[in-house]
Point group: D4
Chain length 252, copies 8
């Protein structure tokens, strides 16, 4: 601990990073950022943006970059993303920002994700499943997994799906995103011998809309699936990344 | 009307049948039986047994046989079925009784269903869908449609289904019964060019069990389906029979 | 296949149409359009606009027109409709556009729907059911069925309905749209001998509002109905069109 | 108050009745019986039997007879009814007991209900609505209203209903009981100019079964209704009785 | 009928009024207005504005004024109200308009409501129940009942309620509006001997908010109530008005 | 720790008690019993019997008596209670057993609950709330609080409640149990200045029955309440006991 | 009473305050403000702003300040807060206003809350729980309790929580706010011997979002909790304040 | 294929096994058993017993043993288990049967599960989670994974859990079973770096009981989890087994 404090005194280590190494988390007035979990699980601790002010999001993102070299912000608005970019750039002038839809990844200069020897297949039933799948993809890539996207193969026209069976079987773990009746993960899980994570999407309207029918259908699936909540792209991606890490042997 | 009353007086027409022809329904202390609807729609007016005493069921069944030559009783218990058989046999000593599971069809001697030039395909996902499919089948057969049963082709193993595509395409209308996640009607409707009626079955357990997920999934289907309520085998069969009659040109 | 590719080489066949004939669907970066299903079922594959960008809708619509001569877009916004009209007109300068409410039908020059010998009756309970009924009507007309609209005959005043019984009985299949308590399809189905498709509409407020009571009531109907989801005008129309095709003998 | 206590001392007034007159309710170890409400509202305070031991039901019934001359017990089992009859007969050897289905009315010798100049029409859609309607009828009769029962006129066959319009219009207030989709009160309320109380019944199965669809449909009715809970025959009867009393001018 | 047509020819009777007298309803391109029901029930047929265009609302309101001398429009927006006032004023230059909150009553010159010898008490638990109570009040007044408003007597402070018991007991029928837990109608019904109509209001937040807890509580009330849907001020008012008419003897 | 182990060796301390003091819990093959929590909170750790075999319940109860001198078993069946009494008597021949309804308290010889200077008022709306209130009472008494039971004062007849206001105000904390619409805790909380814990009871039937309406109403209460789950008599009693301990100053 | 009226006449007492002392509440055209409850319970009667006009909120707030020296307005908008500040300042030029998020406390000059010898611990799981916790804190402080805020100690990283166990144990009562799965109150209640009030927060998305999972989890907690509704910061604060008052002995 | 048929002719291969190899599934009158899936996924195809007759279960189990050397039957009754044992013993006199609770594994003589180099940790919160965890364990063992059971470590007493952290971290994948509020998987997932599959259990009572709160809480978890349906022990086990196979490298 003495060494650590001397490094802080010498300006070689930020106070945030030192606190993170000593206590596992950073205390900021916008909240506590759990750096230890990121380090341990190998997947980024996401900052869920809704309900936070831009300033709160920015402070938490900065704490994340300071202690884990990057920050993953989900469901971010333009105002929140702007605040993050401003705050992080201020501390890390050469930081890079990768924004895809409502997901923002801010990285300290020189940050490199790990490189796992495992592939996550991410499958969507239709065009509207794209943004949620994108959220999952960012997490998997940050965790170092290879990602294979197979889009728009919903069960209404089975040929689209059957044409992709070989790619489906090559992945080590599959995320399958679908809205409406959510039948795609069930059908996919009947065709492969890898774990499938069902990701219900809030499409559909009327009774059972907003992903309710899809979620229930995946919970009731006559094949073997585990499931995450509606639109929980981050959770599906992180779970697949944990499986990919286990397959790779990372963390052992 | 005079002729009718004279026929009653002469004992050539039962009072029940005469009332049915004059008013469209028979008034019995156990309820009013709607004979006109049976005559008009070409499908039997079902007597839904739950909540009725054996005697009430028997009286209604007798009224049905007297005015429409047969009675279809659904969800019948042994006690109710026994009461029906006793009451109907009493009036019609040579009546025949066809009981399949919880469905009972009592017919006056010599009753012959019509003969429609149309086929209803009845498809099930698994073994537990059998009794509900049976209920649908009895109605279709009574209405005179040919029935093709294709069992146990759930989507967990697509080969079982794809092996039957030709039979699926030959039917004029399909009833597809499925529980759990209820994906089968969606997949079937993507493979054929005939109307598909989805029939959710109350299998499954936990959240969305008892047919709830199946019903919601069929309502949200990404293909074209219409749906009946959970376990409503009679309604699915009757709707398919009405379509078969329309295809045949019956009733015009 | 050689002929087909030569036709493409000669500019007589677009690449999209060739792909559609070879694979059954067109792959576009906005998604895969399932041309084969349209061809097979005789009803247009609808492009459900919500959740898609105007550009995505326009690309899918163009793929639809290129391969099936017309595109049906449902729940379209002004921006999406504008993008479709621009994209299709660009390729097909004499294309025609028929927009009714939130439904848009874009057709290549010279496109003619088929002509079925069957009539779909479309019945509404009140003024607010109009837009959903309109969506159903567009599909039926595109499939070639004659349509008879009978509006504003809700059960609160039975005379309005009883005055129309003859027209109801002349249709080969009926779509009956109703919100609030959704009793109209039940009452109509008791008056006719044709298949009735119940179409619940998201009117009403408070408990059971937004079409919930109407949907449940139709699922529980004491007459014979099949049902589609709340506001699913397209599905009701397509199901009725499939029945009309079966009645006509089309596709055999 | 002195007089009252002297009457007790003289054995002319039971202590229970004295307590009821002084405090409005009787305190028994099985609970407090609210005699004042019965007196004030003109409708009996029902003893809801489920969840009570036979002894508790019997003690409360006895308190009711002692203070209001009769006891109305709803949803009574054989064991509870037996206990009531034993306990009441013990105190009132010539008491009379009127049990209809799950409703029991115990009356002190000589008890006579009042005689209101008002008629309650009680209408049922089908045979299964009978027991709930019976519960309503007992309350109305006990309150002194004339009752006109019109059974089995569900909307699946409108003729059955239209044949009874004149009787419907003659009642001062109507209770309309229906299960399944519960459309009957809506249709009835469109035909009459009297207040209609909708009484949903727990028939039906699958989604919206057990009276849920019926209740929602009545709450969403496009005509004017007020509603009671599913199977709440006592409440419907008591509400109709209060209206009948208001029409009669009783209590003024 | 000849006389009627001659009156139309002579310009003494508008075609709309003639159609209303002959058929019971008026057919307009915006819908059918049910004039007969208004005449028969003595309460105005409300025009429910949501989901209708201003022009549709205006046409229906005009039809109502032409055939029943006034129009009651509920949940009206400014645009719809403006359209109604313009359309009605155009035909009836001296028409009067009474707008309270979201309720609009348009009346032909000289229109006078009837005068019933009955009082409707309208009770609210708090300030937020005001607009819904107002909707009920307009209907009662139009039907000719006297109205006694008793506001802000929620059960959290019983003294506010107990101070008003005498006024509560003087009404012939009570409407009791309450949101949150909706306990007020239950407590009121325990204090009076008149029929009470519970009117749940969509206040409250979190679980059971938007009137759900209030509705359920009124359905489960341990006193005698009948209930209307959440925020259904018009229905509560109309039901109370029908009771008031029955009390008055109107319509007999 | 050495002392403790020596006491075990000397037979002065049971191994279970020693383990409990060292680790805070006892490991038995039927589960782990958390003795430390009982010690710390001053309220017994209840053994919830449903879903456990009689043997499992008995083993856990014995572990409880061994380490905390008594065991509280809730929702116990006769078979389970018998097994507990046998197992505990076997180890503690003079143990005492206090069974009230579905609650069983087994105590080692000489066990005395503490004596808090605080009173818990336990109020019920009706007879059916008794067993749940009993469960709460056992916990409060075991924790040493004085208990004042006030039964059968539901809001349908306010006088019954208003007669008890003084007793209500004398308690330090109140548990108010009610089913049906659950209005009683709301009304009570408006009359007192002590904390009120609402305890919904699973009475009632139809929509909102089984305590659902009561729970929602208490969550939406327009007065200040906190709430426990439906029929959670143990939790209500334990929470009140914790408050009583805080009032008493116990544990400081 | 004469003294009181003379004080009014002399201008020493406002009419509002006099009415409050005489009747317990103030009658204003915006509603009745219940001053007696504030006085009795020692916690302010909150003015719930949603659904009220700015003028109504201002009038009620003024009545509160006039009779109880301060007004607590919850879920206030800027417009409503402005109206309150204007109205109160007009009457009390030196009034002070403490606005935190959506909560506004207006105080008459010189108003001092009481000083209780009891501490309320307010614990949050994450940043988004802040505003609801703030609402609870304002009430506790107004009631005179000391407040200890412990923020951002959600169970995803137990170290954050375990580091605070000593502070948790020092409070007399704890409010624990959490959204998503709402596990924090359960874990906290296992660590302390004080009463814990669970406060579910409407964070989360998809199935069980908006606080539903958190509320259900707290109701089902395997430790001892009582619960308030989702986002009911005021209720949690007031309940904790009542407990703190009981601990302090205030009001006795 | 010729070889295969010759082996059948020679009696070296059963017809069932031959059909399974040729078509992937066996057709029996009790249903189609999907042998190929078992072979491909390395996890047994479970036979879900509810809703099937003992004879149907026995026939399907026999088909499973014939084609995949063992049969896994879940939720089996005594009658069904007896039928399975009789039927399988008849064909395979030395078959072995391993029945644990409601799970039955029938194995052909000499059947040996594979041996994976991966460990599944199965964690339960309490005693009632045992049977569901057992179901998961059977599947994992059959698939060849090592299983580490860690029982009764619910979050109400954190020490029980924290004492097991090392074992938790040594597993390659964790199944965490919990009922009531279901907080355990959330807390566990915060302590480890392996994938966690949440398994909600149908314990609990009242609102959110029967596993509903547990399921919702796991879906809303603030840590990373995937989830299976309530009581879906087989699915959780099979998903964990698929992950264990991926970790082991089996199937590549």
């Amino acid at each position: 601990m003495r060494e650590l404090l001397e490094a802080v005194a010498a300006g070689e280590l930020s106070p945030a990073r030192a606190e993170a190494e000593l206590r596992g988390y950073v205390t900021d007035e916008a909240g506590r950022f759990d750096a230890a979990r990121t380090a341990r699980r190998g997947i980024p601790e996401a900052i869920f943006a809704p309900g936070k002010t831009p300033e709160q999001v920015a402070r938490l993102a900065l704490a994340a970059v300071e202690t884990t070299d990057r920050a993953l912000v989900t469901r971010v608005t333009d105002a929140q993303a702007g605040a993050v970019e401003a705050a992080v750039s201020d501390e890390f002038p050469d930081a890079s920002f990768d924004r895809r839809g409502v997901t923002l990844l801010a990285a300290a200069p020189g940050y490199e994700p790990p490189d796992l020897d495992a592939t996550v297949g991410i499958v969507t039933a239709g065009t509207v499943d794209g943004p949620v799948a994108e959220e999952a993809q960012v997490v998997c890539e940050d965790a170092g997994a290879a990602v294979d996207r197979i889009d728009d193969v919903g069960v209404a026209a089975l040929d689209r799906l059957l044409d992709q069976v070989d790619r489906l079987r090559e992945a080590d773990v599959l995320i399958v995103a679908a809205g409406r009746e959510g039948a795609l993960p069930t059908v996919v899980a009947g065709l492969v011998d890898t774990p499938v994570v069902g990701l219900p999407v809030s499409s559909g309207y009327g009774h059972g809309g907003d992903g309710e029918a899809a979620l229930l259908g995946m919970l009731q699936s006559c094949t073997v699936l585990s499931v995450v909540n509606v639109d929980a792209g981050f959770v599906a991606g992180a779970q697949a990344a944990l499986i990919a890490r286990a397959v790779d042997g990372a963390g052992e």
